[in-house]
Symmetry: C2
Subunit: 327 residues, 2 copies
């Protein structure tokens, strides 16, 4: 096989997040071969973060029992607005980056071609190319983590819009005048259904004296709460967590219904850390609500599924991107 | 010129609405040559309406001093869910139509090829091809009449989505739990900013005893109120109408901002009867609000404009459609 010939046939996909960097090596046929994770440490500045990305890439290659000479290219999903052509990160609030020439700087470190995409766009691409056997022409990916992001596949290709800013599903307004969002506005989907919103509502309820098993599990200030803790609380029959998670699922369902009305995609994929932990609890509420809010026809034969790629979606999409652009 | 040779070179575009049918004859280069209008009379049933469409088409041809032999094809925008391939109207609530084979029945009457599209999709196509000289790759058309509809141009082409149901902008939820919409749900954009919503709010305010010059103009029950009456009231400094129209413009702006976040189109065009009457009053509020609600980058260099095609947008798009599909 070609991939054993010593020619550079491997691709590395990177998910550059605000707290951690994940690099995964993929074969030419997009099978994962090895992964490395590092903390991001954005407070050290862009140059230091990019050095850490390079280190994660090399560690993943080592983990896969390969040498770096076998790597053909690297694709990165970055958390913010990206210029796909120049590979510049225009604005990434979680990293406090403005106009960072990520492609150029990382190519200096690695000496292979580097391609940059928004992380949720990359994740949508990864799901579309690697996970979905049906290869739908139109797909919407919604990724629910601390925040909520999205990626659109239109006519079989990643859709970036005019200024490569499309897909900001988390900042569609669902409840005008509603709870304040991290973006400064009010009533965005992210402020109603992201992990940040779910955690905030639980904390507020605990401060008001409501009971939850989470305080037994994590202490009264709920330090280090994770999505997995919510799953454990739900399995123990925690009514408070159930109500708040259902409410988030309801708002996600309203958004999915509205997006079906606007875009009528063939497949809607839900991913990200919250969905990975809570898909069993949330998906049925999301689908039921979406069908309630969709116009006749807008959800006919439309599949709504939870992605199985989990945390690997953006890195997988990075590798897909590199493979596409190296052709 | 070819169009004087007697060969069938003319196209007829039809806007089939719930209350009126408008047919316009266009030259091969899409210049309007003559128009005819007829009331729709949907209560007489689909067969009778289709006969009226055929009559409007023939009257428009006569109005343009042409003979029907010079007509190459007809394109119709219909108010509902349409199967573009079969030319069937699947569901049109304003006409009370279910599964009406419009293309087939109208071709029997006219004996020229007929093409069918959703009316707002047709209007978006008309604006894109005939009105916008810049030919943006991605455009969103929002048409504000009694209801609110939309049409998307993606990569230079009309985007229908998986089941040809995309573009239902009026039924994106902006205010979950908000006012009831004609579709049966709550908080849809249409329930906050369509002509129906504006008129309902004015009527409610009058019933509560609030003052407006509209009651002087139209009588206490505001019978036969039209968008143009609102413009007259605004020019006379009517505070109630000003507040309600501004509120509708605010909600349209929230939607435009959200849609910029989702789709980041190059151009956003606002059309329809309400915009035709009130663009001067509404557009600046819409644009300002949209910029407030858009993420950094999503509205950069994005044009938001009012269409100059007015009532002719859907008929124009019908002719464009026929020209495209007859090629």
């Amino acid at each position: 096989m070609a991939e054993n010939s010593g020619k550079p046939n491997y691709l590395v996909g990177v998910d550059l997040g605000g707290t951690k960097i994940r690099a995964t090596v993929f074969s030419a046929s997009l099978e994962a071969r090895g992964t490395a994770k590092l903390s991001t440490k954005p407070q050290r500045g862009a140059e230091a973060v990019i050095e850490r990305v390079a280190r994660a890439v090399r560690e993943a290659v080592d983990e896969a029992d390969l040498t770096f000479k076998q790597v053909r290219g690297v694709g990165i999903g970055a958390p913010g607005t990206v210029d796909g052509k120049t590979g510049e990160v225009i604005f990434a609030p979680n990293l406090d980056w403005h106009d960072v020439p990520l492609k150029q700087l990382l190519e200096k470190h690695l000496d292979v071609p580097v391609f940059v995409e928004n992380d949720c766009n990359a994740a949508a691409l990864g799901v579309h190319v690697v996970e979905l056997k049906s290869k739908p022409r139109n797909m919407l990916g919604i990724f629910v983590g601390t925040g909520i992001g999205g990626g659109l596949i239109v006519n079989g290709e990643l859709y970036g819009g005019f200024g490569h800013a499309a897909g900001e599903i988390g900042h569609m307004v669902i409840d005008v005048g509603g709870p304040k969002c991290g973006c400064g506005r009010k009533g965005c989907l992210e402020a109603l259904a992201g992990r940040g919103a779910i955690f905030r509502q639980i904390l507020e309820a605990v401060q008001e004296g409501q009971k939850t098993v989470l305080t037994e599990m994590l202490g009264p200030d709920l330090k280090d709460m994770r999505s997995g803790d919510l799953r454990k609380a739900l399995r123990r029959g925690d009514k408070l967590v159930e109500k708040i998670v259902e409410d988030a699922a309801f708002h996600l369902g309203v958004a999915v219904g509205s997006l079906a009305n606007i875009l009528n995609p063939e497949v809607i994929v839900l991913g990200g850390g919250v969905m990975e932990a809570l898909a069993d609890e949330m998906l049925s509420v999301i689908v039921e609500t979406a069908k309630d809010y969709a116009m006749p026809g807008a959800m006919n034969d439309v599949e709504v599924i939870a992605s199985a790629l989990g945390d690997e979606a953006a890195a997988t999409g990075g590798a897909v991107l590199a493979r596409q652009l190296l052709k």
